[in-house]
């Protein structure tokens, strides 16, 4: 999964963090890709996304809403997403420190998704966008350059947490699996970005809540998380 950008949107829909990563193999450092938007466009993107998120939770079909208790909102744990696998790295390498999170990974168990009926994934023929929302209203967005196979020959599909494609093209079960897997890995990744956020942004007394994040440390940690994905 090649992550092109990470965005963080606050409770009111304002963009508080944006970072793009160049996916091309020749230049793996975090330079802006050729499709980068200017900052104004990004703000518009963030607030549009926020509103679409809200709207999508309203258009969830009634049938799904009523059968909620049967849905499983667990996100399985995918080991070492964005983090060096200690079994694979050389024996005498220094163990990585993940801020205040002891151990070789930020967390190691499946976890609950707080995003029950909001937008989780947006796939197009150019990119796939994943959204992870926290209980405090913060949205972590990852834009990935991997393109999932489409259900029809054209454009945009949207789906909510139940993994049911709204177009209801049931012959593509394998696609559904792919969609789910991508979404789960993205959730694992974005929860780790949340962990980094809680370490480097929350513990900084200079940071004002809901304001843009300007921390170099946070930047570096997110970058190393993304770098480890490749």
């Amino acid at each position: 999964m090649g992550i092109e950008a990470i965005l963080i949107i606050n409770k009111s829909g304002g963009l508080i963090y944006h970072r793009s990563f160049d996916v091309s193999k020749t230049n793996p450092t975090g330079t802006t890709s050729k499709h980068s938007l200017n900052s104004n466009d990004l703000l518009i993107l963030a607030s549009t996304l926020h509103s679409v998120f809200v709207i999508s939770s309203q258009i969830t079909p009634k049938a799904l809403q009523l059968s909620q208790s049967n849905l499983n909102y667990t996100i399985p744990y995918h080991p070492y997403v964005g983090v060096k696998n200690p079994e694979k790295s050389p024996r005498n390498s220094i163990p990585n420190k993940y801020g205040s999170f002891k151990g070789d990974d930020y967390f190691k168990e499946p976890f609950h998704s707080w995003n029950k009926s909001g937008l989780k994934q947006l796939s197009t023929d150019q990119f796939t966008m994943y959204i992870y929302q926290t209980m405090t209203g913060l949205k972590f967005v990852a834009i990935s350059s991997t393109v999932l196979p489409s259900h029809n020959d054209s454009e945009t599909n949207m789906m909510n947490n139940s993994g049911i494609n709204i177009n209801n093209n049931s012959s593509k079960n394998i696609n559904a699996l792919q969609y789910n897997l991508g979404s789960q890995i993205a959730d694992n990744l974005l929860r780790k970005v949340y962990c980094i956020y809680s370490d480097y942004v929350m513990k900084d007394p200079f940071y004002s809540l809901e304001m843009p994040i300007k921390s170099d440390l946070f930047d570096d940690k997110v970058k190393s998380l993304i770098d480890n994905l490749l």
């Binding site: 370490d199 513990k203 007394p205 004002s208 300007k214 170099d216 946070f218 570096d220």
Partner: protein, 298 residues
């Protein structure tokens, strides 16, 4: 600096020393603990708290009756800055008791507003600024003195307070005090053996999560200015370890007015800059000469 051999008075064999060291470590493990994050957050909260206290004290003098106070801080911080407009957060309703009583006022200002205002007030109201720094230092001094009491009674065989001269005391600060409070030792200690010491901490733990804006400052401003601005913001936070050092020295026999302690930023070697606060801290400690000769009678 090998842990065991430091203050060995020579009367114990090496095996005994190792055994007692192990017992000491087991004892330390068995003591009740709390979450380190909480501890560090409280230490860093001391700085905004000091600002809040100062605001309330001076406000109390200026206003005789309990009128509604300015929600963004002391009204004498009048300089309107962009920050004021951006960081006007919603009012925090604070309940002083269980049967709710909201109290508005500068007590409700969030921390970041207080810290930014503090750094702005350096020029305007030097007296107030110094008061706040002094308060932070005082808290540090109290922590330092009490800390020595705690450490004396931990039964650490390596500490032999009776025979400590100034150099050993400074080493005690660098190793034990720093290790206990901040989780790491001081990186470097230099002395001229005449009462002046330089303690260098390249990664002072309480600052590691701090970030200073670097990418929004217009490029016309030269680096000097930016560095100055950043340093001013972080300066108050350095008063705490300064106070701790002075407090430790105080309780080991060096009165406050005989000790000068200053903290400054220093550059770090390039390899260590990544993933941490870009500057290290150097503490310059000086014991005034008049006090030294008395300590050398042993």
């Amino acid at each position: 600096m090998p842990h065991q051999q430091r203050y060995n008075n020579g009367s114990m064999t090496n095996n005994e020393a190792i055994e007692r060291q192990r017992q000491y470590e087991m004892f330390q493990e068995s003591l009740p603990k709390v979450n380190k994050i909480l501890f560090q957050m409280i230490l860093n909260e001391i700085i905004p708290l000091s600002v809040r206290i100062e605001n309330q004290l001076t406000q109390g003098n200026e206003f005789q009756n309990d009128t509604k106070l300015d929600t963004l801080g002391d009204s004498s911080f009048d300089k309107a800055s962009d920050l004021d407009n951006i960081t006007k957060l919603k009012d925090l309703s604070i309940n002083a008791k269980a049967n709710s009583e909201t109290h508005l006022g500068n007590i409700s200002s969030p921390d970041d507003v207080l810290i930014y205002k503090l750094s702005q007030s350096v020029d305007e109201n030097e007296n107030k600024y110094n008061n706040i720094l002094k308060r932070i230092r005082d808290i540090g001094i109290k922590i330092g003195t009490k800390l020595v009491n705690l450490l004396i009674f931990t039964n650490n065989i390596n500490l032999n307070f009776k025979e400590m001269d100034l150099l050993l005391i400074m080493k005690f600060i660098c190793r034990d005090v720093w290790k206990h409070v901040f989780g790491k030792q001081i990186d470097n200690l230099k002395t001229n053996h005449r009462g002046t010491f330089y303690l260098t901490d390249l990664e002072y733990p309480l600052l590691q999560s701090f970030c200073i804006e670097t990418n929004t400052i217009p490029s016309q401003l030269n680096e000097e200015f930016i560095l100055n601005k950043e340093s001013k913001l972080v300066e108050p936070f350095l008063e705490l370890p300064v106070g701790i050092i002075k407090g430790v020295l105080l309780s080991l026999g060096y009165p406050l007015d005989e000790v000068i302690c200053l903290a400054t930023f220093i550059d770090k070697p390039k390899e260590r800059i990544k993933n941490s606060f870009p500057k290290g801290i150097s503490f310059h400690v000086q014991i005034t000469k008049s006090f030294l000769p008395q300590q050398q009678k042993q």
